[in-house]
Amino acid sequence: MRILLFVLSMFCALAHSQQTAQNLFGQYRNALYQIKIIELESGNKSSIGSGFQIDALGNLVTNYHVVSEYVYNPDKYRIEYLAHDGSEGQLQLVDVDVVNDLALIRKVALSEQESAFPIALSLPVQGSAIYSLGNPHDLGMIVVPGTFNGLKKNSFYQRIHFTGSINPGMSGGPVVNELGEVMGVNVATAGNQIGFLIPLAKIKGLLSSQNAAVLENEQLKPRIQEQLLANQNKLFSLLDNHHWQTSELGEAMVPSKITDFISCWGGSNTSDKEALYLSVENRCQLDEQIYLHNGLRTGGLELEFEWLDGKSLSEHRFYNFYSQSITGAGAGNNATKTDVTNFRCQQDKVTNINGVTNKTVFCLRAYKEFDQLYDVLFVAATLDHSQQGLISHYTLAGVSKESALVFTQKFMDAIAWQ
């Protein structure tokens, strides 16, 4: 009997969920659009995404990465929408929020009847059914039911954890609760049945520009720069004001969990019985990066410590291997020749406040489009032991000079011997 009841309730739940999905699609399909980036030269679309209307003024919300091609080359692309009924029209870029991957676009010509999604007042309770709408693979609009699993824990760039499949092309589509109110925007998929959404608060932030004038082409990059600078200021003031916990790594003390939103992983080669040396690693990183365009990500941070103990190696042999271990460090983010300059490095032997002497390499490259932003790469290797050493390494993407220097000093002085 119980089983029967359970099956029945399951069936009801399923039926209910289907019902809501159908209703939602019917109710709001007019406010759901496919966003197309049209390349002017060929006159054809170069990328697509989804977008949804939020007011009667013709304002649409989508992902920044959907319109990024236009942002970088406003002379070579234009933005168009394709509505559910097959009507098309041109769109203008009103504002962007690169840090949260959002963009506000506006219809050039309004029709008589504009329908819009209402915005939810708050996030639903964990476990509620939510629906992701979008246009994957250019196949037409679809609804994907899923579960709201709260905000992603320990993340600097806040995301909603969504259980359900978000597919490419659904980017920029809305996520609605059972009442059809928008409470998130599709942004990324992290594999099977796990997706990430941009939460409500960030959308509300963008809505302040609802009545703003359309951004001129030359205003786009300064706007992005301003947002990137503010974001890195926020990130690094958090990091610098935080007390860095240290933990043992070999004979050294290294900063381990420097803050909650940086996740750390460890590993060693102890299982390799033939290895003549011991290597213990600790790496931490910020999980998300900011997408600027196809070849450029920024806003990332990674820290890495490796303790090497060449117990069975002679001094010279160990140092040969040690040198190889610090060879060929590379940038942590993707960037192309047009985005950044080449790296320039400064090298020296440095003794920190704890008396640890390191060979220290500090490398920089500047963003060509954005003043005051740099990528930093740091590698250091201790020189105090003849058969042991600690390699410390980090990369920062898109930071200001001040943040970089303060962080570097704090990092260098954080290392100590036990």
Binding site: R317, Q346, V361, L383, S386, G389
Partner: protein
């Protein structure tokens, strides 16, 4: 007056010389001739070289030979000869030597040649090659992080040694071709010495870079030292192999050095600052024993980093 004839090889290198204390010389294949040539293209009685009693000059006469006489590549039946004219009969080349023309002064014996004679000891060459081999094995051992197996490492290092010995071998062969003495032992000793010197310099370079972190000027010093080692090596190899004047040897050594270095450095300069997501820095780490200079404090390092920001900002405008 005597008649002097020189038998030449096909490339005009003297093979043998004949001096006749008489006024005429009969040349042919017949055994009665003054100069008998064993050449099937030469007639039994081919030509007559004689001193003209009136002018005192040498003349040559064709004795109705089948293949004729060529003087300086022209067929003649009779001709007056000058010193250093080349006569070709059949397939044999002869040169007329005028004994009255004075020869050049002797090249003074070089002191360097005496001083380099110690290189020409087989024992030394063998010792040096063993030192080189052990050096190569040692650097292989120091560069490995796995269990080191001497037997496995030996073939590749011997191969490297064989590649190095191509240089002295080619000089020895060239020397043999042109003047019969190869000086292979000296050449080998010289090569091993240069290999050892080069490795010692590389070690010094590492120590210098590790301790003083030099700027771009260091590349020029490296180039200078590298060029002088290569130039000196070529010069000495030439000196041992061939007898030539100093200026000629200098020119050859300089141009060979240039030919070797130019492609390496042009490629380096052409690739300079090609965009890469990996910065170029010097990863050399040396054990505490080599750590000579003192380290700076963190504050100073951060202070210096300010310049680096200005430096990369300048790159943006390029």
């Amino acid at each position: 007056m005597a008649i002097v004839l020189e038998l030449l090889s096909r490339k005009n290198i003297p093979l043998k010389h004949y001096k006749f204390e008489q006024d005429y010389v009969c040349v042919g294949r017949d055994f009665n001739n003054d100069l008998r040539l064993d050449d099937p293209y030469v007639c039994p009685s081919h030509m007559l070289v004689a001193i003209d009693p009136e002018s005192g000059k040498l003349i040559v006469n064709d004795c109705q030979s089948t293949n004729g006489i060529k003087v300086n590549n022209k067929f003649v039946r009779q001709a007056t000869l000058n010193s250093h004219d080349i006569i070709k009969i059949g397939r044999t080349r002869l040169r007329i030597i005028d004994t009255k023309v004075p020869l050049a002064e002797a090249i003074p014996l070089s002191e360097l040649e005496e001083n380099l004679s110690w290189l020409n000891q087989s024992f030394l060459a063998i010792c040096l090659s063993l030192v080189c081999l052990s050096f190569l094995l040692l650097s292989k051992y120091l560069g490995s992080v796995q269990e080191f197996n001497l037997i496995k490492a030996l073939p590749s290092e011997l191969g490297q040694l064989a590649v190095f010995s191509l240089w002295p071998l080619s000089f020895a062969i060239l020397a043999k071709v042109v003047k019969k003495e190869s000086h292979i032992v000296s050449q080998l000793s010289l090569t091993w010495l240069v290999v050892l010197l080069a490795n010692a310099l590389i070690l010094f370079q590492k120590i210098a870079i590790f301790n003083i972190h030099p700027g771009p000027w260091f590349t020029w010093i490296e180039l200078l030292i590298f060029a002088s080692v290569i130039g000196g090596f070529i010069w000495l190899s030439l000196f041992i192999a061939f007898h030539q004047t100093n200026s000629r040897r200098n020119i050859i050594a300089c141009s060979m050095t240039f030919i070797i270095l130019a492609p390496i450095y042009t490629l380096g300069f052409l690739n300079k600052d090609e965009f890469s997501s990996r910065p170029s820095y010097n990863p050399i780490l040396l054990p505490p024993t080599y750590n000579i200079t003192s380290a700076i404090q963190t504050d100073e390092f951060i202070e210096n980093a300010n310049d680096l920001f200005t430096q990369v900002n300048k790159l943006k405008t390029k």
